[in-house]
């Protein structure tokens, strides 16, 4: 395999990432489905307990086996410890690495930046593999819409191919061993990114969140663990990895958990259209008007308005000047492109917070004018 291109390379950051495609089942409510596996190499100490030298060896072993496993036609490898702050932030914004991997951790032994990296499959970024995060390997597959089954089949195959080249840390009694006991067993987490503006507007969101918690699910924000819910986007994920098979987890999520929430959100949207149509149109069109006119926009405000605009496009409340439906993918894309690092890359230079607000407003205004005028 030839030398992979660096991460600042256009093919990576200009790609329409898989989770913005608005394709697949239930794409009106389910932005994306994500499956990840936590794996560790046998004979290598866990990242949480290893010295720098150990981690370097682990990094090399993982990188080699990942890049040699023939997982994708084009694979980008990024040494996160060598990446610029902007590149790290972009990888986080694209959901390709965790905040934790972007920051690194304090080394117990040895100095310097914690050696770690990520492999990303192009052109769609469906598959990515973090190395030396909490576990040696964190394999992730993201698919647009509700597609946990397809994601699971892909990740299962990826897992097999990697395992063909290395020994995983595995216990016949506990299953796959992981740095944190909450991942022991399958090492599997399945999650969906939901867009639930209807439930928020109908004030039913808390009820759904409580019901999800009662089913042992975690509800998180747009950027996962520890992030706030912005713009009515919520990540819902299973918590249990021990004592239940992958098939059981998949069946639960894809058949029992997600469809009722999707139906509930759709019903909220229908109710809003039927019983509060003018109020709904008012909120959606004000959000559109703000995005098309503001000269200063903070991320959260932009995301909240984009959420309403997304709803407005899906419900045909927002149309272009000729009365045609807008492409919801363009709105999805904006939810990524307005994030700070992507914004700075679009502008071509580093910006302070105030400058970002100006640039964000300009960027959105220009894009929406182009979309609406089409």
């Amino acid at each position: 395999m030839s030398q992979p291109p660096p991460p600042g390379d256009r093919p990576l950051f200009d790609a329409m990432t898989e989770w913005l495609r608005a394709e697949g089942d239930c794409a009106d409510v389910v932005m994306s489905s994500r499956v990840r596996l936590a794996r560790n190499l046998a004979g290598h100490p866990f990242c949480t307990r290893s010295a720098r030298r150990d981690r370097l060896l682990t990094l090399e072993a993982c990188r080699d086996c990942v890049l040699r496993a023939g997982l994708a036609d084009r694979f980008v490898w990024c040494d996160v410890h060598d990446a610029s702050p902007l590149e790290r932030m972009m990888l986080v914004e694209r959901h390709l690495i965790s905040k934790q991997l972007s920051k690194g951790r304090t080394l117990i032994h040895g100095g310097g930046e914690d050696p770690r990296g990520v492999a990303i499959a192009l052109p769609d970024e469906r598959l990515s593999i973090m190395v030396n995060e909490e576990d040696h390997l964190r394999i992730q597959v993201i698919r647009s819409g509700l597609a946990l089954g397809a994601a699971w089949r892909q990740i299962d195959e990826v897992d097999d191919r990697i395992e063909a080249g290395v020994d995983y840390a595995f216990s016949p009694r506990f299953g796959y061993l992981t740095a944190c006991p909450t991942n022991v067993g399958t090492g599997l987490r399945m999650s969906v990114m939901l867009h639930l503006p209807g439930l928020r507007l109908m004030r039913e969101l808390e009820k759904v969140k409580r019901a999800a918690a009662d089913m042992g699910l975690a509800v998180r924000g747009f950027y996962g663990e520890g992030s706030d819910a912005v713009g009515d986007f919520f990540q819902l994920s299973n918590q249990t990895t021990l004592g239940r098979s992958e098939a059981q987890i998949l069946a639960d999520m894809e058949q029992k958990v997600v469809p009722p929430i999707v139906e509930y959100e759709r019903r909220s949207r229908r109710d809003l259209l039927q019983s509060r149509r003018v109020g709904l149109e008012d909120q959606i069109m004000r959000a559109w008007g703000m995005l098309c006119n503001a000269r200063l926009l903070a991320t959260e405000e932009a995301m909240q308005a984009l959420s309403l605009v997304r709803l407005g496009v899906l419900l045909s409340i927002i149309q272009d000047r000729t009365g045609r439906a807008l492409d919801v993918r363009l709105v999805n894309q904006l939810t990524l492109l307005v994030q700070s690092a992507h914004l700075q890359r679009a502008v071509g230079r580093e910006l302070d917070q105030e400058q970002r607000k100006v640039a964000r407003a300009t960027f959105i205004r220009t894009r929406l004018a182009a979309i609406a005028g089409a």
Copy 2:
């Protein structure tokens, strides 16, 4: 003189009223100048103490002398007690009658609606004369911009002409006698309607209001006594009518009081442009975006946004699609046309509060689209 047309007649309510013309000195800050005289007929009891029969006689006497005085080429007479609720509200919104005259007062003797009326000079509505409000005659002249001197000269002439046909209640010691002692003497009140968005945005408004109060001036809202300040519009008026000549009151208002406030507001606008330009543009364009997109608009919200849009037009921050300046008169006009009665007349039927919000949003959106697309 031929029978005057009824007040629902198009020439009256479709006129571009004088106070919206945006002409004259300081029209960027001073919307309009208003002078009014309180007068009573000798030998007729004050309205506050009269029976219905007395008031009918007073009404007839006043009406006759007003309509015969040759005050204008075209004069509309309206019996307010016979007018519909919508017409009364429209007269209030046009600043042609007071809320008090629109409502009438409880009669001490006799039943039925309190007999009262108003004479309005067309086509510009500069001159209007209320009959049987607190005083028998309340003569008002309104001029666009800072034009208290011109207004004063006009009202002085009107006063003379009316006096040629009737005996005013006058005391050599106190001057003109009025129903309320605060008006005794000259019976004169001078006021200006100011638009002070710059001072509000620079948080200097309270200072100016305190200074005005210290000079013995009253600061009121868009609809005078007891009304709230909406959309940064403030009515500033002299309080003293006794012991000072008309010339002194005029000189004070037009030379000492108003010009410094105008200068202060202009400086605030310059400061905003220089030191907070982006923030200012942001607020103005958001207001514009809201007005162009909202589907529900309450009066106050609309007025507040129109105030910012007016500022934006004056500062050339808002332009039409071809980059040309907008006509500030069209914005001035909207501040009148979005009021409830005018709105209902435009729609052609009575509306409840929720329907008015919808109609207001539709009306403004359509107008602004026409203005911006011009």
